[in-house]
Chain length 284, copies 2
């Protein structure tokens, strides 16, 4: 049983005892990719509690039917709401492209996605007005980035490309494997001829392949990691809504996955530079 008080304080009965704690920020992704956003949140708003859900058993989302992605996303958001979160971050480009607008109507807490922050950073960064985007098939087919960028500035050139193999590579923990470089290099080579000066990593898994992508495209193409920009948005919205954690005690985080614990723990430890405890929570 829980009572949420203006979305900031959560009160729970634990047997006979009453426990109060500061509400967490819910973060969801199809797998480990959203940890890139969490890392930035730890750096920018270290006092905030985070509860993360990685749907590793059903990952990748990027080649699924939009209706299925929508259903999975709302299943996870329902679970996060039951934990009494004060905000939800859809740290998955595919889920953002499909479900963000509906989620904002459906849930009472603020919902932040990853596409607008990344688009904004790309527009700031480009000098020649030519922007590339890589993402999953669903994200690229939705044209969410193209629409968002052209809405802000219709004079820009934007070209998207689906890189279906990247998420399975990252989820399998192969980000450092030299044999992966050939796949990465082939996937992004079109952008060289295209003379883009900015490439959006339009999937939160891709920052884990960032050094290979950078090596392939060279120093003239700036890579946009939307994780940093998204964490800034989270901080801005918390502040404007009066939802920043006022409590200075040690932050408390939870990590939940639907699949294997060990692989997620290993990526989490490596990426967040700290030990994390992972719970298995099945939603379907």
């Amino acid at each position: 049983v829980f009572v949420s008080y203006v979305n900031v304080l959560v009160v729970r009965w634990k047997g006979d005892e009453i426990v109060t704690f500061c509400a967490s920020i819910g973060v969801l992704d199809s797998g480990v990719g959203g940890l890139t956003v969490v890392r930035e949140m730890f750096r920018q708003i270290p006092q905030e509690n985070v509860i993360y859900y990685g749907d590793t058993a059903r990952c990748p989302y990027g080649q699924r039917e939009p209706e299925e992605v929508r259903r999975f996303t709302f299943e996870i958001m329902d679970f996060l709401m039951e934990q009494g979160v004060k905000m939800i971050v859809i740290a998955c480009n595919t889920a953002t492209a499909i479900a963000l607008n509906e989620a904002r109507v459906r849930y009472s807490v603020p919902v932040v996605g990853v596409i607008t922050p990344g688009s904004r950073a790309a527009i700031s960064a480009t000098a020649n007005g030519r922007i590339g985007v890589i993402g999953t098939e669903v994200t690229i087919r939705s044209e969410a980035y193209v629409k968002e960028i052209l809405r802000i500035n219709p004079d820009l050139y934007v070209r998207g490309k689906a890189c279906a193999e990247f998420v399975p590579i990252v989820e399998a923990g192969l980000s450092d494997d030299p044999s992966v470089y050939r796949i990465v290099d082939e996937s992004v080579q079109d952008f060289r001829a295209d003379e883009v000066d900015v490439l959006i990593l339009g999937c939160t898994h891709y920052p884990l392949l960032q050094s290979m992508i950078a090596r392939s495209l060279g120093p003239c193409v700036q890579l946009i990691n939307s994780a940093e920009e998204t964490a800034r948005d989270v901080s801005a919205v918390l502040s404007e809504r009066g939802l920043l954690n006022q409590n200075n005690s040690q932050a408390n985080h939870r990590f939940c996955v639907s699949g294997h614990l060990e692989r997620f723990e290993a990526v989490g430890r490596e990426w967040l530079q700290r030990h994390i405890t992972v719970e298995c929570v099945k939603l379907d």
Copy 2:
């Protein structure tokens, strides 16, 4: 007569005609300083309409009684609300320190201030954990920056200093005057002995003195101009609230002041790199 439709579209009767237009973002300052925020907004969210109010006749706010600053701020915000704005930016540190929390309760539109964004940028930027803040007397006495920074990270050292002469210098259009350098240099020299590695320009007028401050403190002290960070917050909040302008027509801006038109026009032209038309609007 006007009707505001979910704060995005404004409908006005002009004689027999009905005119609809996209709601503006209201920006207020005691004078010209808030133009530093407007310049960043023009760069980051160029499709948004802005209505600016500079209370130049009653400037500076920084040495007034808090109750007076509060009253002036709400007078201006009431005026902006009458224009059908969809958001208000308090682009004045003094007014933010005094009136932000109350304004968020008082008005139905989102209200963004300048203190949290600047604090956040300073925390990200410091390497040695020592932060300086310069601002008006009211801002420094309110300790708004110190409280905000220590709330996010209680382990930092923060020292504030009031620079009462800076706003009058900027409002008089003397930002480029070599004789001003001595005043600037004397005002900030304490921070050298203090070994801060970050100095927050805690007044939106101060970026107009930025090059002199930088010359005085040298390259080891990074200056934080909260204007850029504030514009990002505006963009994040608009996006999260679904208030971004969807209309791609040329943006339309209004500039209103309570004092002299010519001086404001000159600073505006110089700072925004475009011609602006200024109206005189008295509120008291």
